[in-house]
């Protein structure tokens, strides 16, 4: 239908003695339409230029200086970037962020998918279940991080109380001052927090799959798993790609939960890359150096998102 409309709206090639006149008229009309289009697009372009392009360009400029937040600065070229590669603090924070992303991305997708399967049909109680699963995401990460901080306290927190009753932990376990325990607690917490969003994204995709496909699979005697594997998963590729990209970018930009629960500790062992940038910029006042780290993070996130988009692209689109 789209190609038919395009064909109808496209001016026909005119031949014969009046062809030149027609071409001029169409050319004039085309120029007028282009001008109108540019006028209509200009407010959006101005907003993008002011709020995205200019800050990004300015950030790149700051990253090439020794900007100290307050006081004079000088242009130092790419020195910030070369120092960044050899900075053990930055390298550790990047590796830690990669580890954290690798741990939470899979479970968020699996739990979100399972919940989406549970509530995708409009059955009795499905609206309540959807709300319940999505509620942690609505309440917000910072609020829930403070809640968890209270419950992780040795001797008084509910986490230790419940786990000690089950014989799984000592009542005095200090979760936030041990690297392994802190990472475990934060990962479980983030999976609990973020699965609701993945569920929503996947459920929206699942509800768009025509029922006829499942009915014909039922006629062919397909099992539940065969229907999931052969119908649901292939048709959900785009939604899965979107959920994965949102999850990976969110993990790369993790800050709140680490800042509130561990403050990057013990030492700097649970310091993600965004917290490293924050510490460098607003605690050490090395704004130029921190901005170089931020630009490097933007590039890494951009590359990972592009690779994910490429790997999970819709093959029907590629063939078209």
């Amino acid at each position: 239908l789209i190609s038919q409309n395009e064909r109808l709206s496209r001016p026909r090639a005119v031949t014969g003695p009046r062809a030149g006149g027609h071409r001029t008229r169409w050319g004039r009309l085309g120029a007028k339409r282009a001008r109108t289009g540019m006028i209509l697009v200009s407010p959006a372009f101005a907003l993008v230029a002011v709020f995205v392009l200019f800050p990004l360009g300015f950030a790149v400029y700051i990253s090439l200086t020794d900007w100290p937040l307050i006081g004079p600065y000088r242009f130092i070229g790419g020195r910030n970037y070369s120092e960044l590669i050899h900075d053990p603090g930055f390298v550790h924070s990047v590796l830690f962020t990669l580890l954290y992303t690798a741990i939470v991305t899979g479970p968020i997708l699996v739990v979100g998918y399972a919940m989406a399967v549970l509530v995708r049909a409009n059955r009795r109680g499905s609206a309540f279940f959807r709300t319940a699963f999505f509620l942690p995401f609505i309440v917000g990460l910072a609020t829930e991080s403070f809640m968890l901080l209270l419950e992780l306290q040795p001797d008084s927190g509910a986490v230790n109380y419940v786990l000690s009753r089950l014989g799984l932990a000592h009542p005095g376990t200090a979760w936030t001052v041990n690297y392994g325990l802190a990472l475990t607690a934060i990962c479980v917490f983030v999976i609990w927090f973020a699965s609701g969003l993945t569920m929503m994204l996947l459920m929206a995709g699942m509800q768009g799959i025509p029922r006829e496909l499942y009915e014909s699979a039922d006629v062919d005697g397909a099992t539940w798993w065969q229907k999931e594997r052969r119908i649901t998963l292939p048709l959900l590729r785009r939604n899965i790609a979107l959920a994965l990209i949102i999850s990976v970018i969110g993990s790369f930009l993790a800050f709140n939960q680490f800042y509130i629960l561990t403050e990057g500790g013990p030492g700097t062992s649970t310091q993600p890359v965004v917290m490293w940038i924050y510490e460098e910029a607003f605690v050490q006042y090395h704004l130029g150096y921190a901005t170089a780290g931020a630009i490097a993070l933007v590039i890494v996130v951009g590359v990972i998102s592009a690779v994910q988009f490429y790997l999970l692209r819709d093959e029907r689109q590629v063939r078209r």
Binding site: L118, G125, F129, F133, L135, V139, E144, L150, D155, Y161
Partner: protein
């Protein structure tokens, strides 16, 4: 019919258990907010 009923029972059970996992911590935090602050930081008895 029995297969449908079993499916519904499974759906309600799984949904209820998952709802508890997602709602209980939030409900507990609301309850905690009504406690006096000296009681919140005290060891449970």
């Amino acid at each position: 019919v029995s297969r449908n009923r079993a499916g519904f029972v499974l759906y309600v059970t799984a949904g209820t258990l998952a709802s508890i996992v997602f709602l209980l911590p939030l409900a507990w935090a609301v309850l905690r907010s009504f406690m006096p602050s000296n009681l919140v930081t005290q060891a449970p008895s």
